[in-house]
């Protein structure tokens, strides 16, 4: 099964890109790629219905994290 | 047992008087008569007695009885050949008596005495190290076993000299007018004794007399061995007089310096114990 | 010696150095750095299959982060 190696390699690639990128706003898309890769790897590692839930939980959780970080980075919610 | 306690109290008070006398003579003063402390205690017993209005009453009274009780208990332990760990325990608990006396009255002077008593808590540590060092040699902490060991191998004073020095330091730090007696320094009136008068003071004098007796007796018993009764008293007297000389010629240290010196002594003894542990396996 | 254990030890040491001697000595950077040794401990617990302890640990870490955040927030506001 070659898929999981592809996914893991992409994760490492994305992480390296994310780490060398200095701008926070441009960093987040790279981290997003890693999230995709790790969520995929979770299911590829363990073929079980719960693994889907784990992948979704991880993905949603890290997306939420990225969302919150980016929003704080932007200065929080606009208020009128 | 009761008569022995009375005897010990009497001898302890007498020792206090001798202590004052020796110090005075070394310093070139005439000094009080040696039975002065006995008279003192009797005098206090018949003076008017009450409890200060600001005091925490139960504690104020209770602490006197605790003081007498623990040192009587210690004497019993010594006589029945119990564990010297218990003796060490009583010695530490005496600290509580000092704190309690100072804290319970509400007076600022006694409070200072209590605070100094808290600061000088390092004075207990050498005794602890003594206990551990003795255990290294005798493999037992019961006084009967220690006496048996000394009967077989000679006095511990020679075998474990640093431990004896530590215990000597401990007794010294509890003597009146000594370099470590910051608790009763005159700049804070009488320290934590200030507000205990009348019968309460007499009770405390009794407890302190017992304490002196017990500590000296324990020193002789642990480091020289079980001697005949009169010889024991004589040895105690010798130790006392040597202590009085030290007290007479040394100035009182500043509070934190006492801590430093006692801690350094403890540190040196810990090193000694580690070396012992390595050497003796 | 499982890979989790080795990785956990390495991350733990990195984290201890990071939290003990952070590059920028602010409360915030130290608080963030504190998460690294937590991951190290997580991996060590995982290596020993101590899952209940792991779960409790992560939950408690979140709460202690909150406690610390609350103090730091007040401290920063006072400055």
């Amino acid at each position: 099964m070659i898929a999981i190696y592809v996914v893991a390699a992409i994760a490492v690639f994305a992480v390296i890109r994310a780490t060398i990128e200095r701008n926070t706003g441009r960093k987040l898309p790279y981290v997003n790629v890693m999230n995709f890769a790790v969520a995929g790897a979770v299911v590829l590692l363990l073929d079980h219905p719960l693994a889907l839930a784990a992948a979704a939980a991880y993905f949603v959780g890290s997306t939420l994290e990225a969302n919150a970080v980016a929003s704080t980075y932007a200065g929080g919610e606009r208020r009128g | 047992m009761i008569e022995y306690l009375l005897f010990a109290t009497f001898v302890g008070l007498l020792f206090h008087g001798i202590h004052r006398k020796v110090i005075a003579r070394v310093q070139g003063r005439p000094g009080p008569p040696i039975w002065q402390e006995i008279l003192h205690t009797l005098k206090f017993s018949f003076k008017q007695t009450w409890i200060p209005k600001t005091a925490s009453q139960a504690l104020y009274v209770g602490i006197v009885f605790v003081a007498i009780a623990i040192w009587s208990g210690a004497l019993v332990v010594l006589l029945t050949g119990g564990s010297i760990l218990l003796l060490f325990g009583v010695y530490l608990l005496h600290k509580i008596v000092e704190h309690g006396m100072g804290l319970s009255t509400g007076s600022p002077y006694t409070k200072f005495g209590a605070i100094r008593s808290v600061i000088s808590a390092a004075s207990e540590l050498p005794l602890l190290v003594t206990v551990v060092a003795i255990y290294f040699f005798t493999r037992s902490l019961s006084i009967a076993d220690i006496a048996a060991y000394q009967a077989a191998n000679g006095p511990l004073l020679i075998i474990a000299f640093p431990a004896a020095a530590a215990m000597y330091l401990v007794i010294l730090s509890k003597m009146h007018y000594g370099p470590f007696s910051i608790i009763e320094a005159k700049e804070i009136v009488s320290g934590n004794l200030t507000e205990h008068f009348g019968v309460w003071r007499a009770g405390i004098e009794v407890a302190y007399a017992l304490k002196t007796y017990v500590l000296l007796y324990a020193f002789v018993l642990i480091f020289i061995g079980a001697l005949p009764f009169w010889l024991t008293l004589l040895a105690m007297l010798v130790v006392l007089v040597s202590l009085s000389f030290v007290c007479a010629v040394t100035p009182m240290l500043s509070p934190y310096d006492t801590v430093t010196i006692q801690s350094l002594a403890t540190g040196a003894l810990v090193v000694y114990i580690i070396v012992l542990g390595v050497v003796m396996g | 010696m499982t890979p989790e254990f080795i990785l956990g030890c390495i991350i733990l040491i990195i984290g201890v150095i990071a939290a003990g001697f952070p590059r920028e000595k602010t409360y915030l950077s130290r608080l963030i750095n504190l998460e690294i040794p937590a991951f190290g401990l997580l991996l060590i617990m995982l290596a020993y299959d101590e899952m209940l302890a792991l779960m409790t640990f992560i939950a408690v870490t979140a709460i202690s982060t909150f406690v610390l955040m609350r103090v730091i927030e007040r401290k920063e506001a006072a400055r």
Binding site: N23, L44, F59, T63, S71 | - | -
Partner: protein, 161 residues
């Protein structure tokens, strides 16, 4: 080995087309769903990219969109077939609600992708190909060159408009 690799590349192309289409149909490049997405868009524009493309990329980062739907649907199909894909759609829906996303791009994408992937599994593809393919597809958008990716997306967005 090589065949599987080609399968993955084909799956990547399919998923790429699928999620970009759905996202653009749901107007992701129009506005940032949350302030964070707009911030990412600004930074990408400052780095030489296009604002519309950057906004879409920001939205992808900040909330599970059609790309996430495709990935999770692929995972769902891999572990449990069609029901798994639909379960993934439900999870994406919950994720959308958690992440303060007003739209339904993710859920729609997940449902669509479930059937597409299931269809491809019938003609010799494996669901794992789609998982890896989707990761490659997102890599091309988010992970290779923000400048070019955002310009490309902006061009596609102009077509939609």
């Amino acid at each position: 080995m090589l065949g599987e690799f080609l399968h993955i590349l084909a799956a990547a192309a399919v998923s790429w087309i699928l999620f970009v289409t759905v996202d653009i149909l749901f107007k992701l490049p129009e506005t940032g769903g949350v302030s964070g997405a707009s911030a990412i868009a600004r930074d990408i524009e400052a780095g030489g990219g296009a604002l519309a493309g950057g906004t879409m990329m920001g939205n992808i980062v900040c909330s599970p969109d059609a790309s996430a739907g495709t990935l999770l649907a692929a995972c769902g199909v891999y572990v449990a077939g069609i029901p798994g894909g639909l379960a993934a759609a439900v999870l994406v829906y919950i994720g959308n609600r958690i992440c303060h996303d007003p739209g339904y791009a993710g859920t729609t994408g997940a449902v669509l992708a479930t059937f597409v992937i299931y269809g491809f599994t019938q003609i010799g593809f494996a669901a794992t190909d789609f998982i890896a393919g989707m990761v490659i597809a997102i890599l091309t958008i988010q992970g290779l060159s923000h400048t070019h990716a955002s310009r490309l997306l902006a061009r596609l967005w102009r077509v939609r408009e």
